[in-house]
């Protein structure tokens, strides 16, 4: 019997788990994928929006502005890469320029910090913006974050404080008896409160219990990811103004020094379809050229697509239609930026259902990941003397040692797959995309998890990498 079961370990499930871990509760998180934050949370713009563009009065507007303010401290506690780099929404013609004033008014009404910068100031702030730029809406509190690290860190910290996590387990339905019964493909659990953070499948989970049916539609966004490179490039998050010409895209740095160009936005049918499409990506680049004059496409290392769960209200759906069953769905953009505030809101809803008593031993601090790359030569040397495996570089594109990899495996919410390690440490994220290091990584994962190399997968389930052993047969 659990006090709380959270369905889904995306950024919202993870945030809620970590927020509720403060209290004396028995919490289980159930996730169908092989890792936390593998769905929408793994493939997005990685932006902590300031909150200037949702319509005033919506949950999106309220939670975005609040969430934005909460991030700096949380990222410090959890050692998650976060940078308040500021966003610039750029107008390049009269129509867009008019829209900029509307956005300014909206931002002020939402309580977001915004101001207009003229062309001269804009070009000084961001020399890589298009020379056609007229003005921009500047949101200094907008930030960039590493969403992979965020989900992992939240869940690790939640688990450090007693939360249980079941991966590779799919919730099939929720029933209401005296308590709630959560049925999965592996078993049955009862709980006093169920929180539905099942992302794109949140409608299925909700519909399995409630009479009032809802529908979530996947909306796909496709991106190009550029490698880090030595020449200077954009430092702010640059948005184009949504206009009759297009819905707007961004060109933005990431916390790891890469750059994102995207996304597209298209409704699709298949909730698992994260395939990319050439024509769409070509349009994305065309869109992006509205706000910059140069996109160094020679540095593209990969393209990817992510899905957002769209609800017809075009707002977040956070409700408790049946006491003890809380929906947190339709969390499309700015879902990431809003997530800390969403979790607080959900915690206050839970407090009406069960008594929340704070734990005396709650620890909000997560032990930082070991990253030698960012340490001084003396520190590196000292750490290698203590553990020689810190000196053995496995991923040379991103400079990751065997010691760091082992640490990322043997933690709460540790890595179990190739993609899991990539998300945590960036192994295989660089120029060679794992060409040099993947075999070494498979070997380390197999050894540390006490498995055969062929049982180590890319991202769980049937995503095997090696078919069979040839030697000795």
């Amino acid at each position: 019997m659990y006090d709380i079961i959270i369905v889904g370990a995306g950024v919202n499930g993870c945030f809620i788990a970590r927020t509720l871990a403060k209290y004396k509760l028995n919490i289980l998180v159930i996730e169908k994928e092989s890792d936390v934050g593998d769905g929408t949370s793994a493939a997005n713009s990685a932006i902590v929006h300031s909150g200037y563009d949702p319509h005033t009065g919506t949950l999106k507007a309220e939670l975005n502005v609040l969430g934005n303010k909460m991030y700096p401290e949380i990222c410090k506690e959890l050692d998650v890469s976060f940078k308040m780099n500021g966003s610039l929404t750029i107008s390049t013609n009269e129509e867009e320029d008019k829209k900029l004033d509307e956005l300014l008014a909206l931002g002020k009404a939402n309580g977001a910090e915004v101001r207009i910068v003229d062309r001269d100031e804009l070009l000084k702030m961001e020399p890589f913006v298009t020379k056609k730029a007229l003005r921009a809406l500047y949101a200094p509190t907008a930030g960039i974050i590493n969403p992979f690290e965020l989900c992992v860190a939240l869940m690790e910290n939640a688990m450090d404080n007693g939360v249980s996590l079941h991966l590779n387990e799919k919730v099939l339905k929720v029933e209401k008896k005296d308590d709630f019964i959560v049925k999965t493909d592996k078993g049955e659990y009862s709980a006093k409160v169920v929180i539905n953070c099942a992302g794109l499948y949140g409608d299925d989970v909700s519909n399995s219990l409630l009479d009032e049916k809802i529908k979530l539609v996947p909306r796909k966004g496709e991106y190009y990811l550029l490698d880090h490179f030595n020449e200077p490039y954009v430092t702010h998050t640059l948005f184009s103004v949504p206009s009759s010409k297009g819905k707007g895209v961004l060109v933005a740095p990431t916390t790891s020094g890469n750059y994102l160009v995207g996304p597209s936005s298209n409704f699709i049918d298949d909730k698992d379809d994260v395939s990319t499409n050439n024509e769409i990506l070509t349009d994305v680049v065309k869109e992006a050229y509205r706000i910059v004059d140069n996109i160094p496409m020679q540095y593209v290392i990969t393209e990817f697509a992510g899905l957002r769960a769209y609800h017809e209200s075009n707002d977040f759906v956070i409700n408790e239609k049946l006491k003890g069953f809380i929906n947190v769905i339709g969390m499309q953009s700015p879902g990431l930026a809003s997530a800390p505030a969403t979790a607080s809101k959900v915690a206050s809803m839970v407090a009406r259902d069960i008594e929340l008593v704070e734990r005396e031993d709650y620890n909000p601090i997560r032990r930082p990941y070991i990253r030698l790359k960012y340490k001084s030569n003396e520190e590196k040397n000292k750490m290698i003397k203590e553990n020689p495996l810190f000196g053995k570089i496995i991923c040379r594109c991103e400079e990751v040692s065997e010691g760091e990899i082992i640490d990322a495996i043997h933690r709460n919410c540790g890595a179990t797959t190739v993609k899991g390690l990539k998300k945590r440490l960036r192994t295989g994220f660089g120029k060679c995309q794992g060409g040099f290091c993947q075999s070494l990584i498979l070997k380390i994962l197999a050894r540390e998890l006490n498995k055969d190399m062929k049982d180590i997968t890319l991202k769980g389930e049937a995503s095997y990498i090696l078919l069979k052993e040839t030697k000795g047969e």
Binding site: N230, L281, G391, R396, G435, K459, E469
Partner: protein, 419 residues
């Protein structure tokens, strides 16, 4: 000046593959007794270790060796000399002053060299770089990685295979995987001609009845978890998909053999001038990069067809670096720049320091296949040499030798002419 490094070497060679081994040996033999070789893996030989097929060394040893055998010959030679070797030692930084930071299981080290030879090899072009659309499933990997899994780790990556790109590693893997019991359904090549050596087309595809689809590419990758299917289609002369030419293949593996790119983050980080075509550093006739005393050779400089060519070049680079150390630099008073014109994709070196005698060897690749043509060399606009060639292929590097006596300061151009 305060000495803030552990040790000073005359020459530090980065990379212990075929290039680094040859360069270290030849710099030692050229009179440098203080040579350090740094290798990131636990063993020397580099990529040769996973190339278990034979065909290596025909030029160097007049016999056919496997990759590991070829490497062994050089490792044995290296061991006969007093050359210091560090294994599992990854270089993380070099500076313009030729300081080197590397990491190994003993610590984080900072050393200094009078000359550095970068022999860091190349990486394979990836799916991201050729932007193949579709799902992000497992079962799509570079041919070299599949080769490592098979030949070093002893694992087969799949049983129904398609190969994109007719690069040599892909062709070799088509045969290798067939011999291991996998079914290779075909090879698609974007260009209207193969990018691999002719002998590999014959011995690896034709001998096993594996079809080669020229002017074809992979249009879509399908598979939720593991690869399930690919769609290939024809491309026109502008490399655009031709409608209604789709062919589907149910495969669990797609190997990419779509080119190799010199791997030089160390050089790029310190602003060494790079060659837009080779993607390796620009070098002069002494194989020196734009930073004095930093040299490059092997597939880290430009991608070679045969390891024998890597060995030859690297031997020469070892000698140049030794000369640089012993003579405190080069005579750079008379300079000739070299420009590729019609038909030539790239030419190395791009800058020649003229000497009074001897010859200078250029390497170039054509940018498309040619038949019955001449190569014309012009010095400051005037033809100085014309060489007939029955055929020229992009997959085969051309060695082109000119007598120093023919050359003087100015610009040398090379072009292909249909006569």
């Amino acid at each position: 000046m305060e000495k803030n490094y552990e040790a000073l070497y005359d020459i530090v060679v980065i990379g212990g593959g075929s290039a680094g081994l040859a360069a270290a040996i030849s710099s030692y033999d050229s009179g440098i007794k203080n040579v350090l070789l740094l290798e990131k893996e636990a063993y020397l030989g580099g990529i040769l270790n996973q190339c278990v097929h034979n065909g290596f060394g025909l030029h160097t040893f007049k016999e056919e060796l496997t990759g590991p055998e070829y490497a062994e010959r050089f490792i044995d030679e290296l061991k006969k000399r007093d050359i210091e070797v560090r294994l599992e030692a990854t270089v993380l930084e070099i500076t313009k002053d030729k300081e080197i930071e590397y990491s190994d299981t003993l610590g984080y080290h900072k050393i200094k060299a009078k000359a550095i030879i970068c022999a860091c090899g190349c990486s394979e072009r990836t799916r991201g770089q050729i932007r193949t659309p579709g799902d992000r499933c497992s079962g799509v990997m570079t041919a070299g990685l599949a080769q490592r899994y098979l030949n070093v780790e002893g694992y087969l990556v799949g049983k129904k295979v398609f190969i994109l790109g007719s690069g040599d590693i892909g062709l070799i893997m088509a045969r290798r995987m067939t011999l291991e019991g996998a079914k290779v359904l075909g090879v698609a090549e974007l260009m209207p001609y193969s990018n691999g050596l002719n002998r590999n087309i014959v011995q690896c595809l034709n001998d096993f009845n594996i079809p080669l689809y020229l002017s074809h590419t992979v249009k879509r990758i399908i598979g939720k978890n593991r690869l399930e299917k690919i769609v290939i289609c024809e491309v026109d002369d502008k490399l655009n998909f031709v409608p209604r030419t789709d062919k589907e293949f149910e495969v669990d593996t797609l190997l990419l053999s779509v080119g190799l790119i010199p791997y030089n983050p160390l050089l790029e980080k310190i602003g060494v001038a790079m060659h837009p075509k080779t993607r390796g550093p620009l070098v002069d006739s002494d194989y020196q990069t734009s930073i004095p005393g930093i040299f490059a050779c092997g597939n880290g400089l430009h991608v070679h067809d045969l390891v024998d060519f890597v060995t030859n070049e690297s031997k020469k680079v070892g000698e140049c670096a030794a000369k640089y150390v012993l003579e405190n630099g080069f005579d750079a008073s008379k300079v000739l720049t070299v420009t590729p014109l019609n038909g030539i994709g790239y030419i190395l070196p791009g800058k020649v320091y003229l000497k009074d005698e001897g010859t200078i060897k250029f390497n170039f690749r054509v940018n498309k296949p040619f038949k019955d043509v001449s190569i014309i060399a012009k010095l400051n606009g005037e033809e100085i040499k014309r060489t007939k060639k029955p055929y020229l292929l992009p997959a085969e590097m051309v060695e082109y030798i000119l007598d120093m006596k023919l050359l003087k300061e100015g610009e040398l151009t090379l072009e292909v002419s249909n006569d």
